[in-house]
């Protein structure tokens, strides 16, 4: 009984903690020359309007992805998809590569100083640097 109580408490705490801290941040490689970017700049990059940097996507349907696009571009996942379908059809670009995990994102960032990505703030470490906290 005591154990159950404890578990419920922990879950409650964890839940409240997780909801409260689901903050997404935009990052680049620690070696990248970029320092700070505005929301508009990031949105342009991730929606094919600017080709200055190479955007990296998280897995489709992941909460962090949805949160990123809603916070930065103010678009839903479906809206993003149609945007890219239109661009691809007219030959003006291809959607960013979707990566399966944060580690993969970090590895890609390390390999390409010109790449840009987003992740949960808690996943940020010394290999990356934050350029925008929306």
């Amino acid at each position: 009984m005591k154990t159950i109580y404890r578990l419920v408490l922990a879950a409650t705490l964890a839940l409240s903690f997780g909801v409260a801290h689901a903050d997404v941040v935009v990052v680049v490689s620690a070696k990248s020359p970029a320092s700070k970017l505005t929301k508009e700049q990031v949105a342009d990059i991730f929606l094919g309007r600017s080709t200055n940097m190479v955007p990296l996507d998280q897995a489709a349907g992941s909460p962090v992805r949805d949160e990123f696009y809603s916070k930065v571009a103010g678009q839903t996942a479906a809206q993003v998809k149609t945007t890219w379908a239109k661009l691809s059809f007219s030959g003006k670009g291809t959607p960013p590569k979707a990566l399966g995990s944060d580690d993969e994102v970090k590895a890609q960032l390390a390999a390409n100083p010109n790449a840009i990505a987003y992740m949960d703030k808690s996943k940020v470490d010394a290999s990356v640097k934050t350029v925008l906290e929306p």
Binding site: T83, S88, T94
Partner: protein, 887 residues
């Protein structure tokens, strides 16, 4: 046979025709023209073949480059447009997966660009108007489709939201795509049709070319064969003719008819054959004529091989004086002496002829009536084809007269050979024709010498040589011989020999010159003796009496003359040598030699004894001079010894004087030194006196100063007494003040302290005054003691001054004495110097005297020595120095 030959040597009608056509052309030209014609045809055929190949190549090339390529481009365009449609559909199907669309879009773009490139590539080909239109159509349709694609893409998710909608929108451009496909199919079909046409063109061209080439090759072949036949025939036929003619000539026929058909090489060959035939004919005629000539000139007879006479010509019969009827059929031996007929030599003569050997030479034969005949010529066997003689022919000339002349000639020669005179005979050509034995011997003896100048000279080959072989002056001798009228001579030195020739012309009975007879003399010895005599006379004239004439090889008068001259020179030489020997030893001092006068006569003897007298007289004079010289030498020796004594004594005197002079010098120096020292002492004494006097004055001043000090000390003692008193008073006052202060009580306490201080100060002043007083007292005492001492020292100084004055005076006296002493010594010095000078002069005089006597001694010695050289009697010359020592 003759007809047969004649037929074969003729040319046929065909050959004549050929000769007419090509006969004037040389074979080389003919061959060249033929080959050129055939080669030209061959060249033409090759050219046609190449042209056909060219046409074919162009047709094929056009097809491949244009038609086939155009067809390819057209089909590629069709394929590419189909691809574009496919990728378009793929894109539409993937509308909800935009990450896949990109890939298809990329492929679509590639196909799109590829299609445009294909159209451009097709345009660069050589195109017809229709093709160009088709390409324009394709390009236009493709432009419409591409624009439609862009338009649709721009509307996606704006107005077209589903795949169906998009697909429907694209339907609008389907027509354009289909038009494009049609156009490309059209183009392809046309290009393929053209390629088919090219194939047909190729086949036609190939067939045409083949026919042309075959025709030309055939023509070349026919022409080649024709040329070959004509040329071969034109060469072989005339050669056959030439062969036949040559055969006829070999067979001895020289009248063959040779046609002059052509001017080519074979024509030349036939021409040459004709010339050869003519030359052979001429030589045959020539031989026949010559034989006839020989028959006229010489005696000719023919014998059978076994010696039977067959025929004889007119000359033969005339020489032998016989008639042909009498001799024909008889043996040859009828013409030889009976005693010869059976000899082995005669039989050998005929055996040789039967063997085929020619017998030539002079033969003795017998004519009619036993007449002796000499015949010159030859017996010549004529050989048959089997090499065996079938007849003997003789060609003979009568030389009987010449033979007799020759015999006579030989007899003359024999006679000349036996002469002692050296005879050489030359003919008019200057050839030597005869050398007799005496001349041969003489020249043989001289041969080695002669070869020095005439290396080719050879006695054995003299006969038949030109006269020039015997002389170095060939031109001169020849000219002399040619102009020779009477006796003349020629002399010349050859290789050390002197040869003289006396030349006479030989003239025959008609006065014609036949040659020259040369009588030769070897004048070598004579000439040599002459030269030797000249040489010896020249030598004697020049004073050389050593030479004699060699007697070797001299004979007769040369030997006698030479011996006489030698004796004459010998006599003069002996006397001259004796005189020379005498003078030589006399020069060395020996006057004992004399000339032997025995065996000398006349002037030579008188000359010898005169010289002997002269020598004796000289010896006498020398002896007298010798004695006088010895006397002089002794006297001079004595003088010399006296001089030596005098010299040594003068020298010792001079050295004593020198010693005295140096002692005086030392003494003078000592005295001078003394005087100087005395002066110095006097000066020092004066100075000491001055110092002592100054000391006295100082002491006096010191005494006065002491008195002053004493006074001052007393005054100080008084002042100190006053101070002491003041101190005492002060002490009292201070005591009073202390008392008063005590009385004043408390108010006077400070004052009392001051008063006590003043009292102690007064006490200390009093004590100090007492001490100073004692000190002053002490110094007064000491000053008094000093005063006394100063007074004492003043007295002592006065005494010193007096003593010093005395010393000064004494020293002055010493100085004066020294000066006087010095002057005295100076006088002594001068006297010694004069004495020395005199002694020196003495010494010089003595030395001069000694030198003179020494020189005199030497001269006396030299005189003595000079005289000693002379030997005046047979005793040995004496030792001059030994005699001097004895003197």
């Amino acid at each position: 046979m003759a007809n047969n030959v004649r037929k074969t040597t003729r040319l046929g009608v065909v050959d004549k025709l050929i000769a007419l056509i090509v006969g004037n052309v040389r074979i080389s030209t003919r061959l060249a023209v033929s080959f050129f014609a055939v080669l030209s045809l061959l060249g033409l055929a090759t050219w046609i073949g190449l042209r056909g190949l060219d046409t074919m190549y162009h047709a094929a090339d056009n097809t491949i480059r244009h038609d086939v390529r155009l067809a390819q481009h057209a089909s590629t365009i069709g394929r590419l447009v189909a691809n574009e449609r496919r990728y378009e559909k793929d894109m539409i199907l993937n509308l909800d997966a935009p990450e896949n669309i990109g890939e298809y879009r990329k492929k679509w773009d590639e196909s799109n660009q590829q299609l445009e490139k294909e159209v451009q590539a097709a345009r660069e080909l050589d195109l017809s108007e229709k093709d160009r239109e088709a390409l324009d159509k394709i390009e236009k349709a493709h432009g419409i489709y591409t624009a439609g694609m862009a338009s649709v893409a721009g509307r996606i998710f704006d107005t077209l939201n589903t795949a169906q909608e998009v697909s429907a929108a694209m339907e609008e451009y389907k027509g354009a795509v289909e038009g494009l496909e049609h156009a490309s199919d059209d183009l392809n079909a046309r290009a393929m049709a053209k390629a088919g046409e090219a194939e047909a063109t190729l086949a036609t061209t190939q067939a045409k070319t083949r026919v042309r080439q075959m025709t030309l090759a055939g023509t070349s072949l026919v022409l080649g064969v024709l040329f070959c036949l004509i040329i071969t025939r034109s060469i072989t036929r005339p050669l056959r003719v030439a062969l036949d003619v040559s055969g006829a000539i070999a067979g001895g026929r020289f009248d063959n008819e040779i046609e002059d058909g052509s001017r080519d090489e074979t024509g030349e060959l036939l021409g040459s054959l004709g010339k050869m035939q003519a030359a052979l004919l001429e030589s045959e005629l020539n031989a026949k004529g010559q034989l006839a000539m020989i028959g006229q000139m010489q005696a000719v007879a023919e014998y059978s091989p076994d010696g039977l006479l067959r025929s004889a010509n007119e000359n033969f019969l005339t020489i032998f004086g016989v008639k042909l009827d009498h001799i024909v059929g008889k043996a040859h031996e009828q013409f030889v002496d009976a005693h010869v007929r059976n000899t082995e030599a005669y039989r050998e003569f005929w055996r040789n002829l039967q063997r085929g050997k020619v017998e030539a030479g002079q033969f003795r034969r017998v004519g009619a009536g036993g007449n002796e005949l000499w015949l010159q010529g030859m017996y010549s066997p004529i050989l048959g084809v089997d090499g065996v003689p079938f007849k003997v022919v003789c060609y003979l000339t009568d030389v009987t007269a010449e033979r007799k002349a020759a015999v006579m000639n030989a007899a003359f020669r024999g006679a000349l050979d036996n002469l002692d005179a050296n005879v050489v005979v030359a003919d008019n050509d200057m050839s030597i024709v005869f050398v007799n034995n005496a001349a041969s011997r003489m020249l043989q003896a001289a041969q080695n010498d002669l070869r020095r100048d005439l290396p080719a000279f050879d006695v054995t080959r003299l006969s038949g040589s030109k006269i020039e072989v015997m002389t170095r002056e060939g031109g001169k001798l020849r000219a002399q011989l040619l102009q020779l009228k009477g006796t003349s001579s020629h002399e010349e030195a050859i290789g050390g020999r002197v040869l003289k020739s006396i030349m006479n012309p030989m003239v025959d009975s008609d006065g014609h010159r036949l040659g020259t007879v040369l009588e030769m003399f070897d004048r070598t010895q004579e000439t040599a003796t002459e030269r030797e005599l000249q040489d010896i006379i020249a030598a004697v004239t020049a004073g050389d009496l050593d030479r004699r004439i060699g007697l070797e090889g001299k004979t007769g008068v040369f030997a006698t003359l030479s011996r006489g001259i030698n004796e004459l020179v010998e006599n003069v030489d002996v006397l001259a040598r004796e005189i020379q020997a005498l003078v030589t030893v006399a020069n060395r001092g020996d006057l004992t030699r004399r000339i032997v006068t025995d065996g000398k006569a006349g002037l030579l003897s008188r000359l010898g004894s005169g010289i002997n007298d002269l020598t004796s007289n000289m010896a006498g004079v020398v002896s007298q001079v010798k004695e006088a010289a010895a006397e002089v030498y002794r006297g001079v020796q004595t003088i010399s010894a006296g001089n030596a004594h005098l010299s040594s004594r003068t020298e010792s005197q001079a050295s004593s004087l020198e010693e005295t002079a140096s002692s005086m010098e030392e003494m003078t120096n000592t005295v001078k030194h003394n005087a100087e020292n005395a002066g110095l002492a006097s000066k020092l004494a004066m100075e000491a006196r001055g110092h002592a006097e100054k000391g006295g004055a100082v002491v006096a001043k010191a005494v006065v100063a002491m008195g002053g000090i004493n006074e001052a000390s007393k005054k100080i003692a008084n002042i100190i007494g006053v101070i002491d008193e003041i101190a005492f008073q002060t002490n009292l006052l201070a005591l009073n003040a202390a008392v008063e202060a005590a009385r004043a009580g408390e108010q006077g306490r400070g004052f009392a302290v001051v008063a006590s201080e003043v009292r102690s100060l007064a006490g200390r002043s009093a004590a100090a005054a007492k001490e100073i007083k004692a000190l002053i007292q002490d110094s007064v005492t000491k000053v008094e003691e000093g005063s006394g001492l100063v007074t004492q020292s003043g007295a002592t100084l006065d005494q010193i001054v007096a003593s010093v004055k005395k010393v000064t005076n004494i020293v002055s006296e010493i100085a004066a004495a020294s000066r006087e002493q010095s002057i005295g010594i100076e006088h002594v010095n001068k006297a010694v110097a004069q004495l020395d000078e005199l002694t020196q002069q003495n010494s010089a005089l003595v030395e001069e005297a000694a030198a003179s006597s020494e020189a005199m001694t030497q001269q006396a010695q030299a005189l003595d020595k000079a005289m000693k050289r002379y030997k005046v009697d047979d005793s040995a010359p004496q030792d001059a120095e030994g005699e001097c020592a004895a003197a």
